[in-house]
């Protein structure tokens, strides 16, 4: 860690979970289930606690990367270990560290077999996800990007449901094939940049200074698109998602929805937009078209679902459409809405999966038709579920409203027709969510199993309550969250503009260039 003057906080956060995982694997006997659980919980809590250092010391006015760690890794190829966090990734990092705690808690009783491996894999998922949000070196990014697949595939494949092998392999192949294209794109940029400037490097801040020619961007965009869009997932690359969600254990679904789905959209914001601005602009109509289609189509397919988990999975397709739309309308409001929605979707959809897991634990069925009138027997559960449903459908005073509002403003700014579709998507969201709530919670109590059900216990309330608090916090006082991303997104917009003009071969004033450049602030 040469060139580092202070404490490597980002690496600490990233690798703490891996350390925990290593500890569990090396030193624990598989019978020590309680100890394993508590260690995993402890690790995730400590990681979250350490990650809270970031918002406490975050400089909102600074649009650049903070707490930067940079050290040469493979000099010959221009690969460095380069980590940094700015206003775009900070919230996603916190989301990851926070949701992992929820995931560990959600697995407390559900997972009874091979607990040791399970917890270790979960902690590894956290490490790799954090790595993706922090890596600023494209090679390092790629390494984390591929790495995160492995624990996830095992989590689905080993601890999953009925068709776990099918779903796990589908998930793996989809993302893996996508990533290969992404790697091609990364290499194309690497060699192109090297050939033009003589500097062969994977350092994204350097690559950003001189964007590749529009013709090259075109192909790289397609490659990146295939890599990122699978993870979002964008129509028509989405069919792995319902299967993966349905067969994943509860915590797997939560981490999939809350964290893994954000990787793709994050990568679009972080790399595609500023590195390939000309191609992004050129592809924007197509991207917007697909996003709008996904919003409406996803919602329509959601309405027709009969399995609660599948329903929520398909609703993600619709919700992530909002995020993608916000990215490709090319304005600050849309981007803000997107990043906000990434966070919101993580919280709300994560919470939905958590809640569905709780009822599944009791009844072992996920079919909507197997339940009616749960509200009567499980009032606390019903209230939680209702709040999350409302948040997911964008009710004012909840987080969903704030995100949808900004996406809507951004969409309107780009073209009013987009806004019409977005608003229509919001309307459809109310339909499937309320109908779900009605079918499951209202009516006379009945479920296929017959005997009575117990309402939520203390552990379950503790798991859910923080998410409920976040839902209202963001809904009522979103200012801190918006402020965090403000400077970085403003800079990003400038960056896109400047690079767009550079890509077109226009002259760019040094000042504009400087404004757009990523400023690093190392750890002091």
């Amino acid at each position: 860690m040469t060139g580092l003057t202070g404490f490597p906080i980002l690496s600490t956060i990233t690798f703490l979970p891996a350390l925990g995982a290593l500890g569990i694997i090396l030193f624990y006997k598989k019978e020590w289930t309680d100890l394993i659980k508590w260690t995993a919980l402890g690790t995730s809590v400590v990681t979250f606690a350490v990650s809270l250092y970031l918002p406490l010391t975050f400089d909102m006015a600074d649009p650049g990367l903070q707490w930067v760690e940079k050290t040469v890794w493979i000099e010959r190829f221009g690969i460095s270990y380069y980590m940094g966090v700015d206003g775009i990734s900070l919230l996603l990092v916190l989301l990851t560290t926070f949701m992992t705690i929820i995931c560990v808690l959600a697995s407390w009783r559900e997972i009874n077999t091979k607990l040791k491996g399970y917890m270790a894999l979960f902690l590894l998922t956290e490490t790799f996800s954090l790595g993706i949000f922090m890596a600023m070196d494209l090679f390092l990014f790629y390494v984390f990007w591929e790495a995160v697949l492995i624990p996830m595939v095992f989590i689905i494949g080993i601890w999953g449901g009925v068709r776990k092998f099918y779903s796990a392999i589908k998930f793996f192949i989809f993302t893996f094939v996508g990533s290969l294209f992404m790697l091609l794109g990364v290499l194309a940029i690497y060699f192109y940049h090297g050939k033009v400037t003589g500097v062969y490097t994977f350092d994204s801040t350097i690559l950003l200074l001189s964007p590749v020619a529009p013709a090259v961007q075109f192909w790289v965009f397609i490659a990146f698109f295939l890599g990122f869009a699978v993870k979002v997932p964008m129509f028509p690359l989405h069919t792995w998602l319902p299967d993966a969600h349905t067969d994943a254990p509860t915590a797997g679904s939560i981490v999939l929805a809350a964290v893994l789905l954000k990787l793709g959209t994050y990568a679009f914001v972080r790399f595609t937009l500023p590195m390939l601005p000309n191609a992004s602009m050129a592809f924007a109509p197509l991207m917007i078209g697909i996003s709008i289609f996904a919003i409406i189509y996803g919602a329509l397919v959601t309405i027709a679902q009969k399995d609660i988990k599948k329903l929520i999975a398909y609703s993600s397709v619709s919700h992530m459409g909002f995020v993608m739309l916000g990215i490709f309308v090319f304005n600050i409001e849309g981007l803000k809405g997107s990043v906000m929605q990434m966070l919101n979707h993580g919280i709300s959809t994560g919470a939905l999966f958590l809640l569905v897991g709780m009822i599944y634990e009791r009844t072992h069925t996920r079919m909507i038709g197997d339940y009616t009138g749960l509200f009567k027997e499980l009032p606390v559960y019903g209230v939680f579920f209702l709040i999350v449903v409302l948040s997911s459908m964008g009710m004012p005073t909840t987080n969903g409203f704030i995100g949808e509002l900004f996406v809507l403003i951004g969409a309107f700014k780009a073209h009013w027709v987009y806004a019409v579709f977005v608003a229509f998507g919001v309307l459809l969201g109310a339909v499937y969510l309320l109908w779900l709530f009605q079918r499951v919670f209202l009516g006379n109590f009945h479920y296929a199993g017959g005997h009575g059900l117990k309402d939520l216990g203390l552990r379950e309330i503790i798991e859910t309550a923080p998410l409920i608090i976040l839902i209202f916090w963001i809904g009522l006082y979103p200012k801190p969250f918006l402020n965090v991303m403000d400077a970085s997104l403003t800079r990003l917009v400038k960056q896109v503009e400047t690079n767009y003009r550079k890509g077109n071969g226009e002259a760019v004033s040094p000042q504009a260039s400087l404004d757009a450049a990523v400023v690093e602030r190392k750890v002091e």
Binding site: V301, P396, I402
Partner: protein
């Protein structure tokens, strides 16, 4: 007026306390908390009203900002309240009528198991309603707008074990969301047009100051989109269908939400945006036309309903239509005035019907009632006062407000609206008194068991009835048009509506109420009396004997069989919507799912299968062709070698022999060569 934050906060506090620990408290405590916070909110509202009145007229528009809700770059929205005569009047209505209905509910809902949940929702509703009317910008209004919709959903479906109730709740929410779809687009179009002008804001003040700069074509669209929202919330054609179904909720809820307050939010919204709508009178005409058509349309359905609450529901839709007719033609004061009197008399009648239902053990069919007057005098008398008010009989409140609407429509040249309004007024008088006669007069048609249990409701229910009856009777005072300077309502609301060009015009004309207005008043009273008279011939026992043979319920029903059936089935609108909208969408959703699984996912699986097929084929190719070739080569070699192997016997003498023979051959070749 910083203390105004208490007005919505108190009900929120009540909702929170009852929501969190209500299930552990006694019913008495729950009811006490809910009513106390409402009473306190009402008192603060009165204080606010009073303080506002102390200010000089020009300064009666106070913005109180509490904190910044959403801010990002140029976009900034505060949680802030606008206190002006309009909002002050609204908070009085909401908290006042709300308080009475809370008190009433303590009696009406007393035996319900989920009493605390009910009180929690009811308080929460009032919170959102107050936010709606107090907000000083469109987003706070929208917050309240969605919030009241949510509470309406929760309360309509309060008895969620009943499928009809939960269906009705969902229908209400979804239909409202369709309206909101227009509303939010209207908001953003407004915001965007203003930001083009450099006045990006959602604050009323800024918006109204700059709204005249917006391109009229765009402004028209904005006005229409906002009105789409109003048709959803305020149950106008074509989105009125949820309100009759909403009667599945407890009756006090129907009184508070689906008569007195929430459904008037659309009227409030248009009135609040008078600065905008005054600029686009053609949109106003559309609003007025939709309103008056709804008034008539709903009234025709009200004529034949037998459910005591359904009659009131259609009547509410109809009366809301009047209000839109008023605000549409630019008579904002008249619209808001009718909103207020309607809150009194319709709230009263709903509560009265609740009292009847309570006494009848849950029965809502008027054909099984009758003669209740002798059993429950307070309910009966107060209900009749309400009916007189809505029928437009002087001097009851409804007379003044309805008449002002009709007069202003006439006076502004909307003769058709006036005529349709008049016809509707006649119908209203008819079906209201049909209801009064069927319920309270004649023989009791209930079964003996029910008859035995008939009783007047407890004082917690009758006292609110009495108070509302008094208000229904005298609430019209503020709209009595016999003063030189116009009505008290006009004077009071002038700071809000005064700047609209329309209203100034009305004001000028309104000052000189001439003889024509008296004539029209006389006409509308005559029409109302005719309605009551016709109803009495049909349903009031002492009058029945004077009715000609064709004017009997049976002969009318058989004489106009088709029409009666059409009205009785509410024009089959629900069925038409189901057939044209709901079912196709459901089918389309199923189709999309089949497409997703059958085409897209099929393709994915096909790709996987195809890969496996090629893998299998390659495997076979490998074994039989590639490896086969190798193997056949080796077979060939082996085969050949079996031939040549014979040479290699391994015996030294054989080799020596061959060697010697070879050498000999070579020697012979050399010697011969």
């Amino acid at each position: 007026m910083e203390f105004t934050f208490l007005i919505p906060l108190l009900p929120l506090l009540g909702a929170t306390v009852n929501g969190v620990i209500g299930s552990k408290l006694t019913k008495r405590a729950v009811g006490l908390i809910a009513c106390l916070v409402m009473g306190a909110a009402f008192l603060v509202s009165v204080a606010t009203f009073y303080k506002l009145m102390l200010l000089p007229e020009a300064e009666r528009s106070v913005v109180v900002s509490f904190f910044t809700w959403i801010s990002s770059g140029a976009f900034s929205v505060d949680i802030a309240f606008l206190i002006d005569p309009l909002s002050a009047l609204m908070i009085l209505i909401v908290s006042g009528v709300g308080f009475l209905i809370h008190v009433y509910s303590t009696g009406y809902m007393h035996d319900d198991k989920a009493y605390w949940r009910y009180m929690c929702y009811l308080n929460l509703f009032v919170f959102f309603m107050l936010m709606l009317v107090l907000g000083s910008n469109y987003l706070v209004m929208f917050l309240g707008w969605e919030g009241v919709g949510l509470c309406s959903y929760l309360l309509i479906g309060f008895w969620y074990e009943k499928k009809a109730a939960s269906d009705a709740g969902k229908k209400a929410f979804v239909v409202n969301r369709i309206g909101d779809f227009g509303f939010i687009l209207g908001l953003f179009l407004l915001y965007w047009s203003l930001s083009d002008l450099g006045a990006a804001s959602l604050d009323y003040k800024t918006v109204f100051e700059n709204v005249h700069l917006i391109d009229p074509a765009i402004l028209t669209l904005i006005g229409l989109l906002l009105f789409v929202g109003a048709t959803g919330k305020s149950a106008q054609v074509p989105l009125y269908v949820w309100l009759p179904d909403a009667m599945e909720g407890p009756t006090p809820v129907s009184a508070l939400i689906h008569a007195a307050t929430m459904v008037t939010a659309g009227v409030y919204m248009v009135a609040r945006n008078n600065a905008l709508y005054s600029l686009i009178p053609h949109v106003g005409n559309i609003i007025a036309s939709v309103g008056i058509f709804t008034a008539l349309f709903a009234a025709t359905m009200g004529l034949v309903q037998n459910d005591i609450k359904k009659v009131l529901a259609y009547s509410t839709v109809s009366q809301l239509g009047y209000m839109f007719a008023a605000v549409g033609v630019g008579a904002y004061t008249a619209g808001v005035f009718h909103l207020m009197t309607h809150a009194f008399f319709k709230g009263l009648m709903f509560l009265g019907s609740g009292s009847v239902i309570h006494a009848m053990g849950g029965e809502q069919d008027m054909r099984k009632m009758g003669g209740l007057h002798s059993h429950m005098k307070i309910t009966s008398v107060t209900f009749i006062i309400g009916a007189l008010a809505i029928a437009g009989m002087p001097p009851f409140s409804g007379f003044w407000s309805k008449d002002e609407i009709l007069w202003e429509a006439f006076e502004k040249g909307h003769v058709v609206i006036w005529a349709v309004g008049l016809l509707t007024a006649g119908m209203t008088a008819f079906y209201m008194f049909r209801q009064v006669f069927m319920t309270f007069t004649g023989e009791c048609r209930a079964d003996d068991h029910t008859k035995h249990h008939l009783h007047e409701s407890p004082s917690s229910m009758t006292v609110p009835l009495i108070i509302l009856a008094v208000l229904s009777a005298i609430g019209g005072i503020i709209g009595i048009p016999f003063f030189e300077e116009g009505t008290a309502a006009h004077q009071f609301l002038n700071p809000v509506f005064g700047h609209g060009g329309h209203e100034v015009h009305a004001e000028a004309a309104g000052a000189g109420h001439g003889s024509l207005e008296f004539i029209l008043m006389g006409v509308s009273v005559a029409v109302g009396l005719t309605g009551i008279f016709l109803a009495s011939l049909l349903y009031y026992a002492p009058m029945k004997k004077y009715a000609p043979s064709f004017w009997r319920p049976e002969s009318i029903a058989s004489g106009f069989k088709g029409l009666h059936k059409l009205l009785f089935n509410k024009y089959y609108i629900d069925e038409i919507y189901d057939y044209l909208v709901v079912d196709p969408i459901k089918r389309f959703c199923d189709w999309c799912l089949s497409f997703d699984l059958g085409v897209i996912d099929w393709f994915v699986n096909f790709a996987a299968w195809f890969t496996r097929l090629t893998a299998w084929a390659s495997h076979k190719f490998d074994i039989y062709i590639v490896d086969g070739l190798v193997n056949s080569m080796s077979t060939l070699v082996t085969y050949n070698s079996t031939i040549w192997r014979r040479l290699q016997t391994g015996y030294l003498q054989n080799y020596a022999l061959v060697f010697v023979v070879g050498v000999l051959i070579i020697i012979v070749r050399v010697l011969l060569g």
